[in-house]
């Protein structure tokens, strides 16, 4: 299972670094030696990533070409935004570390931490 995760990451790295949609065969060619998977494996991985919403595909002749749905930076930003969303529905889903600090509170905090 860990290997599958590694493969998913490797495939996404290829897609994130390629501006235009590519066929699965191209991904197989470009992947680093240590993965060396079959095209069928890559197609399965692409399907899984598609189901999770990270990859889309367009028909090109008789084959498909694949691309990432968002850039890596955008995906990270969106993930973070959702993770730190504190609307009540999701409050129990994630427990995150910090609260907010207002300007007045900053001064009080400084005092509290300075003493002792």
């Amino acid at each position: 299972m860990a290997r599958l995760g590694e493969l998913e990451r490797a495939v996404m790295d290829v897609l994130w670094n390629t501006p235009e949609p590519v066929p699965a065969t191209h991904i197989v060619d470009v992947l680093p030696r240590e993965h060396a998977p079959a095209v069928t494996t890559i197609l399965t991985v692409l399907d899984r990533l598609g189901a999770k919403g990270f990859v889309t595909r367009v028909r090109h002749g008789r084959a498909y070409r694949y691309s990432a749905t968002t850039s890596k930076a955008e995906l990270i930003a969106n993930t973070m935004l959702e993770a730190l969303d504190t609307t009540s529905d999701r409050r129990s889903a994630l427990v995150h570390f910090a609260g907010a600090v207002s300007e007045e509170e900053k001064a009080v905090l400084r005092e509290l931490l300075a003493s002792g």
Partner: protein, 250 residues
């Protein structure tokens, strides 16, 4: 006789739904014993539900006259409906949250690299640390957090998140969140959820303070708290860190 019990049960349900939670939310002892306070909240919530369903059930099972009437039937139906509704709200909420968590897990597994301690690091400038709870939890921290915290403070933050993960705190909070969203007209439900969420943070704070030091954790809270920008859409601000820092430092 049974009707009397039903009435008492209903009275108890009302007490447990309003004045009792209001009193507890205003008390000051919970911050000194968060674990006990959490248990008390859970008892209040559970008994309130049992009394509400129970009063309808009792009313349904006691013929007020010589024969059973439509009232009995209605009461029994009411008990069944209330129970299914309470359980249904919990189930729907659980499913929705699990879907959300799965999306988060998939993204983190794809985007983050894993350090020696199994912590997932995200390449993001804003300092943040959080836990994706569940049977196989993930603790996530950003580059921004690592950059803005000293080693002791970072250790405190990670210890805090680990406490949430290992303690399965999401299981404590989730029922309260579920029933609060189903009872928006009941202010005590909101207060209960807020109180339990705060207490769970205190549990994790205590654990982290024991593992590192109260001051390191307090400094980390102050640091990560000040770096956070208010949410763009003006949604309800997360709870202030000030009471938690005070509690750690005194």
């Amino acid at each position: 006789m049974v009707t009397l019990l039903a009435a008492l049960s209903a009275l108890l349900a009302v007490l447990l739904a309003w004045p009792v939670p209001t009193r507890l939310a205003a008390a000051s002892w919970p911050s000194r014993n968060p674990r006990r306070a959490i248990t008390l909240w859970q008892v209040i919530g559970l008994s309130g539900g049992i009394c509400a369903v129970g009063s309808l059930l009792l009313l349904g099972l006691d013929p007020l006259g010589p024969r059973w009437t439509l009232l009995n039937l209605a009461a029994l139906a009411g008990a069944a409906i209330l129970l299914s509704w309470l359980l249904g709200v919990l189930a729907t909420n659980t499913i929705r949250i699990e879907r959300h968590l799965r999306k988060q897990r998939d993204a983190v597994d794809l985007l983050a690299w894993t350090d020696l301690n199994g912590v997932r690091v995200l390449d993001h400038p804003e300092p943040a640390a959080y836990c994706l709870p569940g049977p196989r939890p993930r603790i996530v921290v950003t580059h921004g957090a690592i950059a803005s915290l000293g080693p002791e403070e970072l250790a405190a933050v990670l210890a805090h998140e680990r406490a949430h993960a290992v303690g399965r705190h999401e299981l404590i909070i989730q029922p309260f969140v579920a029933w609060e969203s189903a009872l928006p007209f009941l202010p005590p439900a909101r207060r209960a959820t807020a109180a339990v969420a705060e207490l769970v943070e205190m549990l994790a704070d205590d654990h982290a303070a024991r593992e590192t030091s109260p001051r390191a954790l307090a400094r980390a809270l102050a640091q990560v708290g000040s770096d956070r920008l208010p949410s763009a859409d003006g949604s309800a601000a997360p709870a202030s860190v000030l009471p938690r820092v005070r509690r750690l430092v005194q």
